[in-house]
């Protein structure tokens, strides 16, 4: 176990920060650009997972387990969120026969 931590720490923390920032930005772009609701969900999951990666990396570098515990909390919450989101999607599909979010334009200023 000590060995793994040493190996992980041999990569500089900046690389982890860059990697998770890039993943996070890909997630944001996905939410903003894609029109299929399921792909948007996947992009949101990607954002959350990039945060998980970042927290795990920080946790190793600080030698502090609380970051990894927080990752579990995020996983639980993300699972609950996706369950609710997919239920909402099924509900919308039943009523409109589509999951394209461009169809959600009935409510306007």
């Amino acid at each position: 176990m000590e060995n793994i931590i040493l190996q992980l720490q041999s990569i500089s923390i900046n690389s982890y920060i860059w990697l998770s920032s890039i993943l996070f930005i890909i997630g944001i772009m996905g939410v903003l650009i894609r029109r299929n609701a399921i792909v948007v969900f996947m992009s949101i999951e990607m954002m959350l997972n990039s945060v998980n990666l970042l927290l795990a990396a920080f946790s190793v570098y600080h030698n502090d387990p609380s970051g990894q515990v927080f990752v579990f909390f995020i996983m639980v919450v993300a699972a609950a969120e996706v369950a609710v989101g997919l239920a909402l999607l099924v509900m919308i599909y039943r009523n409109t026969q589509t999951i394209d979010i461009n169809f959600l334009n009935k409510l306007k200023w």
């Binding site: 997630g27 949101i44 945060v51 970042l54 909402l88 409109t96 979010i101 959600l104």
Partner: protein, 459 residues
């Protein structure tokens, strides 16, 4: 702690009661649970509990705000019961979600750790996504729920990234650890910490719908069932502002120069832009949504003020805002029930046949606009003087101008109510729950307007 547990158990009990298939039973469980929690809550006054390694800090700020959240949730619950019970099949499940959202809001006011803050916000949001879509077969409700869900979880992602960066910079989720990190660096934060703080703020501002992050609010408010909109407009907003206030005034007070400008700009933008956007609105729900955004701006002023008056001004403002919002939405719920429309014109000539409803709406509007003797006036006055005390004179001037402009749209429904045109006014029969809600909100609005010391003396 018992308070949070009791409310959570109330939610579970309501869900169990759903299996018994006895409609109306859940109301009594909820009322009993909320009343018990309200009483136990005040037993914790001045105890300043620190629980679970400072994960939960139950100080006087948490006690009063939780009391406010319990009261407004109870009022919304009464309204919910009178409005949903006639035709909803899954009444108890929806009722349980309301109570669970209330539980998580109590975590938001009393967190001492970023983990608890995150869990509070997320649990509340997940409950609200379902509640917004609780009219399964109505398209606006579906659309509101999905919009709220997509934008809300996007904001959650941003907030989490901020928390991760703060953790990376300071090495702790606990505010003691973060504070000792800040003192060790002499309150000079690394860029990683500053970016993290900014992203965390963005996530929180999204939840209270302050201006650059408000775009979801009018759509979601309009599409959701009106009772749920009441909940989102009153209780959820109070909890969000309390969370922000605790974060900044309690934990990040030492690094005020870093965040003060951001909060000031957001606050000024919120009340000013929202007031201007509310002016052309034709629908009452959207109008109240924009009014809620502008009030979020006024509530944020307390975060900036950060002196001995700030907390009490925030409490009075939050109380008067939520009472007035609940009263206004209650009237709207009753009117929509009969007219199936929320255009402003449905209020035309309402004063002739529905005197009580008309009176309630007039009081709510005047209180939100800040006209004495209602509590909105004292709240605005105290908020402005607290902020002026800290030297933000320009912000106060803008605030006064914005509330003067806001009179235009608050007086619009009042003139319609008092107009002589009685052609389309129908007599609306009120259920006892609605009468209780209106009497309580109006009485408290008047009492806090005349004796604001009852609330402001608490903090």
């Amino acid at each position: 702690m018992e308070v949070i547990i009791i409310i959570a158990l109330t939610g579970i009990a309501i869900m169990m009661a759903g299996a018994l298939n006895k409609p109306g039973f859940s109301l009594w469980i909820a009322i009993a649970g909320l009343m018990l929690a309200f009483i136990l809550n005040f037993r914790l006054w001045n105890t300043n509990l620190h629980l679970f390694n400072d994960m939960i800090v139950y100080d006087n700020f948490a006690v009063v705000f939780n009391a406010l959240i319990i009261v407004s949730s109870a009022l919304v619950f009464l309204l919910f019961h009178s409005h949903y019970s006639p035709w909803e099949k899954h009444l108890d499940e929806i009722a349980a979600l309301l109570i669970f959202a209330c539980t998580s809001m109590m975590l938001m006011t009393s967190y001492g750790n970023l983990v608890v803050l995150f869990i509070g916000i997320e649990t509340m949001s997940i409950c609200l996504y379902v509640l917004a879509g609780s009219r399964k077969y109505e398209l606006p409700s579906n659309e509101a729920a999905l919009k709220y869900f997509l934008l809300g979880s996007f904001a959650t992602g941003v907030m989490l990234f901020g928390i991760a960066l703060i953790y990376g910079a300071s090495g702790s989720f606990d505010f003691h650890g973060i504070t000792s990190y800040l003192t060790s660096t002499g309150n000079q934060t690394s860029s990683m910490f500053s970016i993290g703080l900014l992203l965390l703020t963005v996530g929180l501002l999204f939840k209270i719908a302050a201006v650059p992050f408000h775009f979801w609010a009018p759509d979601v408010y309009e599409g959701s069932p009106t009772v749920i909109t009441t909940f989102m407009g009153s209780t959820v907003k109070i909890a969000g502002v309390a969370a922000l206030y605790r974060l900044y005034a309690y934990h990040f007070a030492a690094i005020k120069p870093i965040w003060a400008t951001t909060i000031m700009i957001v606050s000024a933008l919120s009340f000013f832009a929202a007031v201007l956007m509310a002016l052309p609105q034709k629908r009452f729900k959207r109008l109240l949504a924009y009014s809620g955004i502008s009030h979020a701006g006024f509530l944020l002023m307390a975060v900036l003020a950060m002196n001995q008056y700030a907390a009490s001004a925030l409490l009075l403002y939050a109380a008067s805002y939520s009472l007035a919002t609940i009263a206004a939405f209650t009237v709207l719920v009753e009117v929509i029930e009969v007219r199936w429309d929320d255009e402003l014109s449905v209020f035309k000539g309402m004063g002739a046949k529905n005197k009580f409803l008309a009176f309630a709406l007039i009081v709510a509007m005047l209180s939100m606009a800040g006209i004495p003797p209602f509590s909105g006036f004292m709240a605005k006055f105290m908020m402005f003087s607290a902020v002026a005390e800290s030297g933000y004179i320009v912000l106060v001037v803008f605030g006064v101008i914005a509330s003067a402009i806001s009179l235009v749209y608050y007086l619009k429904p009042i003139t319609l109510i008092l107009s002589k045109d009685e052609s389309n006014s129908t007599n609306i029969k009120l259920s006892w729950e609605v009468i209780i809600v209106l009497v309580v909100t109006l009485t408290l609005t008047l009492i806090f307007g005349i004796f604001p010391g009852l609330l402001t003396g608490l903090l």
